[in-house]
């Protein structure tokens, strides 16, 4: 049975502000979908509308063939992890995880077993009787995840679950989250403003702006074939080159740089930013400015340094054409 989540023309306004203007979206079953966008784009509002925490002004929501638009959050049976985790500070990890199980008519023994299963799932068996304040940020996040998963929800909703963590912990948890999702096969929707996070974790990325969906597709599609300048600019770095009303865009890693003497556009190296494995070059030719990412070894081999004249090649297969540049780019 297909139990995909379908949103049809969801609208929501706060006074004069349109948080969502007629958003339609299908979230396929068992997949990991990311809602990506800058702050204020409506991604959290959309997530809260799915959870039932926000009532849309108009539009309908279906889970499979069942309409859930008017259902309260409790009747939807979705698990939600909030940005702040919202763990109850006066309850232990165990009690937090058991919180949603008590009111389901389960007997205490079943609840205990389920809690243990969840603790095991998120790798916190030893931490069962600790209070949230005695756990690290990453551990708190896992408790919140276990609490949301304990009642075996149909859908897992994550509201920027990793944003409060240190970079390193975030990377590890990101992978764990993805593994967990694959293992359980649970349909998951995650809100994030971090494009790298979205690209690395999701099956499907939904890019949003000003309450509207700008593009929807696999990470590869979004990155390689952005549908518009906004998506191109928001997801990853990109150069926009304007020429007689036509705009060509190319990602820095696709710009090819050669020493003087080869064919191609002429430019000079204005800035070099060392990034470990690669180097980011800011190249200039007259008023045109171009960013290129090249392997760090290339600079040494070819003797390219600050102020050097270079030749640039823009491979046509990597060039994307647009009608305009994004606002503010």
């Amino acid at each position: 049975m297909v139990r995909s989540l379908r949103l049809i023309e969801i609208c929501k306004s706060y006074g004069p502000v349109k948080a969502l203007s007629s958003v339609s979206l299908e979230v396929p079953q068992g997949r990991f979908t990311c809602l990506l966008g800058p702050s204020g784009c409506g991604k959290t509002t959309l997530l809260r509308a799915i959870a039932g925490l926000e009532k849309p002004d108009s539009g309908r929501i279906f889970l499979g063939s069942r309409e859930i638009t008017g259902l309260p959050p409790s009747a939807r049976g979705f698990g939600v992890v909030f940005q702040s985790y919202a763990l109850f500070p006066n309850l232990t990890a165990r009690e937090n995880i058991a919180y949603g199980l008590g009111s389901r008519g389960l007997n205490p023994r079943t609840i205990q077993l389920r809690v243990l299963e969840m603790l095991d799932l998120v790798g916190l068996k030893g931490e069962a009787d600790r209070y949230p304040s005695q756990l690290s940020g990453g551990q708190q996040q896992r408790v919140a995840l276990a609490r949301a998963l304990a009642p075996a929800p149909d859908l897992l909703l994550l509201d920027e679950p990793l944003s409060a963590l240190d970079a390193k912990v975030r990377m590890n948890l990101r992978r764990e989250l993805r593994n967990l999702q694959e293992r359980l096969g649970i349909t998951t929707v995650m809100v994030t403003h971090d494009q790298e996070e979205a690209l690395s974790i999701a099956d499907e990325v939904v890019v949003m702006k000003d309450g509207q969906i700008m593009q929807k597709g696999s990470p590869l599609e979004i990155y390689d074939r952005p549908a518009n300048p906004f998506v191109a600019d928001f997801v990853g770095a990109i150069n926009f080159l304007e020429d007689e009303g036509r705009v060509t865009a190319i990602r820095p890693e696709h710009v090819r740089v050669f020493p003087e003497g080869k064919p191609g556009f002429q430019a000079e190296v204005r800035e070099i930013e060392f990034r470990g494995a690669s180097c980011r070059l800011v190249l200039g030719s007259g008023k045109t400015r171009l960013v290129a990412d090249v392997p760090a070894s290339l600079l040494k081999e070819k003797g390219i340094g600050h102020g050097c004249p270079v030749r640039i090649d823009l491979p046509p297969e990597h060039c994307i054409s647009f009608d305009s540049v994004p606002v503010g780019a």
Partner: protein
């Protein structure tokens, strides 16, 4: 787009209904009595005068105008002096390395726990015609404005001290360090850092002090002599002459400056709400022997005065016949052959205070939860919030008076012969009207305490509860309540202590067979039984100190228990 959008669900209706009930109670017990007061003040009374005419007539009555001016200047004087004294004391505690700070703090707050009558009685025993100090040859001419100002200073001082302490506690050391590195001397630092930071607290303290003394009735009753103030006028009109409509007019007069002060204070504090940043560094005063000397001298004076007030009342309560028979006795505590029912009234007060504390805490805390955390229609929540804060501007006398008007009325007649039985009439003449008046009188501060405690909780708790399918009531019981328990204790003890000592609201309302202790003091004093009056004051004071001490112990235990889960959280709240 994030934040406090609340869940809607099956119990949404239930939440809205509860919030509606809370609003209905506020309308019934706060709004309705006030509107009755206004109606009464402007309506045709027994004297046959039409409403507005009599109101204008009353306002031009020279005696009343005199009382009004008397009240005005006496309150301004007492409030200014009390604020000055409180400022010196608070500075000594928070800005010097003076020894004995906890003791000074305790002594400064001591008068909070006594009925205002007690300050009057103490002054009589110290400076009255047969007083201790007068007997030593120094007659200050107590009865009249001097006595009232002195008594009101005693009354207002601890309140002002509390407000100023709170402000000094949060000032930031880095400001002082910055001033110091820029080469500012001690005096310049005081003028440029300390005082500007205190400006709002000082205004706030002055306004609160002004309202308290403008509407206080206990102290002028004892030491006012022939000096008339509005608060005693209203008492004489209503109790003495049964002139209720005149009382209503004076009530409105009392309300005017109190409301003005309330609005001014709101405006000022509204402007000033955002100076505490999360990473404020507390001030540790540096060593300065001269400052310490002056601070200690001043605080010793304050301490001695505070102790001598309590001491004088203790002497009054324990000595056989002052000043003729100085043998000690406990006879006065038996309240034999005295006006005002004696020990019976103490039991009455205990009952009222306990019930007020329980019901008041439930109402303030439950109300704050409904307003802050539930998904009920916004207009309901906003109206409830307004009515819950309104009592802050209502003097007790005005509450008492308006309660007579409303509760005494058997039915409401509407044009067209239609009439509705007054559901509140059953409370009239029972102890429950005293409980209701007390809860309303002291409602705003506990309500604010509860709101503050709840705002520190993550607004997503209710969303978690909704998505997990847990009823909100369970989350209230298992999470909100335990996390707010210290605030709950604070609220309960606040209601209790205030209900024990209050006179102003209950003076018009108590049933003849059920007299509260603070009123028994008034009656005993009226009848010349000063020693038993002092004994009763001591009894109330001791009870309140005991309750406050129990509160302190309990809070400490709760804090210890909750340290486990509060440690890190608190930092997060502060950072949020």
């Amino acid at each position: 787009m994030k934040g406090n959008h609340r869940p809607f669900g099956t119990d949404e209706l239930c939440q809205a209904a509860l919030a509606g009930l809370f609003l209905a109670l506020l309308v019934l017990f706060v709004f309705a009595p006030l509107s009755e007061l206004f109606l009464k003040a402007f309506s045709e009374g027994d004297d046959g005068l039409s409403g507005f005419g009599r109101f204008a007539g009353t306002l031009s009555d020279p005696a009343l105008r005199l009382s009004f001016w008397n009240s005005l200047w006496v309150s301004m004087t007492s409030s200014s002096l009390a604020c000055g004294a409180a400022l010196l004391t608070a500075l000594s505690i928070y800005r010097t390395r003076m020894p004995g700070k906890p003791l000074v703090r305790g002594l400064a707050l001591l008068p909070l726990f006594a009925p205002t009558m007690m300050h009057g009685i103490a002054l009589v025993y110290l400076f009255g015609n047969k007083g201790l100090v007068t007997g030593l040859g120094w007659n200050i001419g107590l009865y009249g404005p001097k006595g009232i100002v002195l008594a009101e200073i005693l009354y207002v001082f601890p309140q002002a001290f509390l407000i100023l302490s709170a402000a000094l506690e949060i000032s930031d050391r880095r400001l002082y360090e910055a001033a110091e590195t820029l080469g500012a001397g001690t005096l310049k630092r005081f003028w440029t850092v300390t005082l500007p930071g205190l400006r709002y607290a000082l205004l706030n303290a002055f306004f609160s002090g002004f309202t308290l003394s403008f509407t206080d009735f206990g102290a002028p009753k004892v030491v006012g002599g022939n000096f008339n103030v509005l608060a005693t006028d209203i008492y004489k009109q209503v109790i003495g002459q049964q002139n209720l409509s005149m009382g209503a007019v004076i009530g409105l007069l009392l309300l005017g400056p109190a409301v003005a002060a309330f609005l001014a204070e709101r405006a000022v504090s509204g402007l000033h709400s955002a100076t505490v940043s999360s990473n404020t560094v507390p001030v540790f005063p540096s060593k300065n022997p001269l400052a310490e000397f002056f601070a200690l001298s001043w605080c010793s004076l304050v301490g001695i005065l505070s102790l001598s007030v309590v001491g004088a009342v203790l002497v009054a309560a324990l000595v056989k016949v002052w000043p003729y028979d100085l043998r000690l006795t406990l006879d006065h505590f038996l309240f034999r052959n005295v006006a005002g029912y004696g020990l019976e009234s103490y039991k009455n007060s205990l009952f009222i205070s306990v019930v007020t504390a329980i019901l008041g805490t439930a109402a303030a805390f439950g109300g704050a939860y409904l307003v802050e955390k539930t998904k009920s229609p916004r207009p309901i929540r906003e109206a409830a919030r307004f009515l819950a804060l309104l009592p802050l501007a209502l003097p007790g006398l005005v509450i008492g008076l308006s309660y007579i008007f409303l509760f005494n009325r058997p039915a409401f007649e509407f044009p067209g012969g239609f009439s509705l039985k007054n559901p509140l009439h059953v409370l009239y003449g029972t102890p429950w009207i005293l409980v209701a008046a007390n809860i309303v009188h002291f409602f705003s501060v506990p309500f604010l305490t509860a709101v503050t405690a709840m705002r520190r909780l993550d607004p997503a708790f209710e969303s978690v509860s909704a998505t997990l399918g847990v009823p909100l009531l369970k989350t209230f019981r298992r999470v909100t309540l335990p996390l707010c328990f210290p605030a709950l204790l604070e609220i309960g003890s606040y209601f209790f202590v205030n209900a024990m000592v209050t006179i102003s609201a209950v003076v018009f309302l108590y049933p003849p067979s059920f007299k509260p202790a603070a009123l028994a003091i008034v009656n005993m004093e009226d009848a010349g039984d000063i020693a038993p009056a002092a004994a009763m004051s001591v009894l109330l004071l001791v009870t309140n100190i005991a309750v406050r001490a129990a509160y302190g112990l309990l809070t400490q235990r709760v804090k210890k228990k909750s340290e486990l889960w509060l440690g890190k959280e608190r930092k997060e709240y502060a950072a949020a």
